[in-house]
Symmetry: C2
Subunit: 245 residues, 2 copies
């Protein structure tokens, strides 16, 4: 136990001879793995770095956390700044703190993932990134820093998440067909499903409501449109719905 200008903080590191101030020299950043779904492929939003280190290399968008902001607020700020969208689905998934992960010093980064309805948003390069774009998750270029690890963990996390919670609907427009959902599941889990059985399963969860609308401008029988019923899900939550396929 040490008492000084930082107040008193437990730690049993007092044994080693680092000055106490050195324990308060961490940099903290937030990186956001942003997912979007486009015509049957699941994509991630990446930026191309405009300066060293890793100049011109692709990276997961992120920023330093300000000493004055909460961690979650920081993630929201980055997303807002990057996409201009509000009320995006965001969730923290893992923190990366390898000693040597950042050449500029000791920077620990907290990984968040976000799900955006990509129709709503076309990315534009801005002053802090030379380029920006969507990449198919099956074809990602080498990334800066330890961002390969971060991305891999983010995808892994989403794949697990999808089994127990209805998060996929955040990637779709408010009205969608059953085949849209199936395509999204197939793009994410990289496997094919039987159509009749898929629709039975997904309808049996009871959280989809059919609308009195069908597709338009299609060269075949138009599919019925559905929407996700959040309230229905909240009431059913107790009896663990299984979204596993």
């Amino acid at each position: 136990m040490i008492n000084n200008k930082f107040g008193s903080v437990d730690h049993f590191l007092s044994e080693n001879n680092l000055p106490f101030e050195d324990f308060f020299r961490f940099g903290l950043s937030v990186d956001c793995v942003i997912f979007g779904y486009h015509h049957g492929t699941l994509k991630v939003l990446l930026i191309q770095r405009g300066a060293d280190p890793f100049k011109y290399q692709w990276a997961i968008p992120g920023d330093l956390v300000s000493p004055e902001e909460d961690l979650d607020s920081s993630a929201e700020r980055i997303l807002q700044h990057l996409t201009g969208l509000k009320d995006i689905y965001v969730e923290q998934f893992h923190t990366f703190g390898q000693r040597d992960r950042h050449p500029a010093g000791r920077v620990v980064t907290v990984g968040y993932f976000a799900l955006v309805e990509s129709e709503k948003y076309q990315p534009v390069a801005s002053h802090w990134a030379s380029d920006i774009g969507w990449f198919d998750i099956r074809n990602i270029p080498p990334l800066a820093f330890d961002h390969d690890d971060i991305l891999a963990k983010g995808i892994e996390f989403l794949r697990k998440k999808v089994r127990t919670e209805p998060v996929v609907f955040n990637l779709l427009p408010p009205k969608f067909t059953l085949l849209d959902i199936q395509g999204l599941y197939e793009a994410l889990l990289l496997e094919k499903f039987d159509k009749p059985n898929f629709r039975k399963k997904i309808l049996s969860t009871g959280v989809l409501v059919p609308l009195d609308e069908v597709q338009t401008n299609v060269a075949h029988r138009p599919a019925k449109l559905f929407r996700f019923d959040q309230e229905r899900y909240d009431t059913l939550k107790g009896n663990t719905i299984n979204f596993e396929l």
Copy 2:
């Protein structure tokens, strides 16, 4: 983009007028939610603080991360120091970064959880904590800082984890009965299971091997002992075993 003694780091906070150094004044800590299973109840290891703030209040054991160590190493160090045990099951689950969570300044904490075979270990109070002990998860005292949140999230995480991965065996001795596992599941998930069906389900996962041994010193027919087969699990991993009950 800013270049200075910290090297160059992306950030679009340059708009506000905080000196850049202020972005490198975070403290980082690790808190470990340590689970143990004792005679039908699931317990958590807590320490009683020996000094202000929150003097004499119970808390989740943790420590500041040294500038020279990796995040994961820090968690291992704390566990080693606290329990004297090596090769404990440890995993990161969430990072807590509310601006005002620590009165001593801006300290962000990374939550880890650990599973220990509690037979092996009886806690002893040491110089840095006035007391230490196991608490039933159904009866936890008010905790220091935001540790109530951390504990709640840790328990939640374990409950989810248990559905898809065979982590419970880390809480049991190497040889155990089927009823031991059932008791553990019941203590964790707070529900009762039908015995014959439970054993069918747990055996159907194929990762338990029966031993040629039975219980001793029991006042009834002794149960057969089993062990968890890690290798078998690794080979079956591909075909997602379901540990859901």
